[in-house]
């Protein structure tokens, strides 16, 4: 169903560009709800899973700020996220010699075990979610959205000048 119909709006009320933007946001909202329903079955949330995956894929130990940069999550929020992951024993904060401000965050054995369970199932879910798009459609989609993100960063900077 097209967006104007979902919103029960008369046709012609949205510009083509506005409709595209709302389509992005709405699709992401629905993906987010499906994801959280999925991860909930494993006792974690999407945000927590993202942290674990970034830690697993990083080529060096990361600080809280570094994780936040990769995930577009604020420092304050990383504190709260890691508090919960540490309480569940999936990560630990390790003190760093030479800089007492920072922690290095490490996956624990339990964290890795959880990922071994969740990751394959998650990839299957992603495949099922995206099954209606062929490879070239996916590539075109990524290309357009990457271009758009670059434009958003630029207009954001302009607004701050």
């Amino acid at each position: 169903m097209s967006l104007p119909k979902e919103l029960k709006m008369k046709g012609g009320m949205l510009t083509t560009q506005h409709e595209a933007l709302l389509n992005i946001v709405r699709t992401a909202t629905i993906i987010g709800k499906l994801s959280n329903a999925f991860f909930g079955r494993f006792g974690i949330t999407e945000a927590q899973y993202n942290v674990l995956i970034v830690l697993k894929l990083a080529d060096k130990p990361l600080t809280q700020v570094e994780i936040g940069e990769r995930l577009v999550v604020s420092r304050a929020n990383m504190t709260a996220l890691l508090d919960k992951l540490e309480k569940k024993a999936y990560v630990i904060r390790k003190k760093v010699e030479g800089d007492r401000r920072i922690f290095q965050i490490e996956l624990t054995k339990e964290g890795r075990k959880l990922l071994d369970k969740v990751e394959p199932a998650y990839l299957r879910q992603v495949e099922s979610n995206m099954a209606c798009l062929n490879l070239s459609a996916c590539k075109a989609l990524s290309r357009v959205l990457t271009l758009l993100r670059e434009n958003l960063h630029i207009t954001e900077e302009e607004r701050h000048e």
Copy 2:
């Protein structure tokens, strides 16, 4: 910058489909942050604006459930959202004769006045955000995302069977 680079992952770690999905979510996240920065200048949030716009565009008075359906917002959440909008006097809950369970939600004069101020500025911001995509790119994007959403609804229903 492509997603694998933003995440500082080695290439080839994501399938094309997975990368497309993450591109959608990440782009929407950034749009959401920009939107909330924008609406914050008018003392409202994106979610609150969405409620006001749906009320303005509806062709009949809406109940809380009906607003929630259009916006994919739960009943519980609509209560909280409308509490805030009613406190700011942008909407009122009106009792309905013949069904004491429901309210009809109406925009107040202040609500309309706010929209008259916010809407034009918002449309300009949307245009600037999407300026890097031409009309046919926007149409293609909307078409692909609409198709994807339909597929998501289907796989969601399958999982509940």
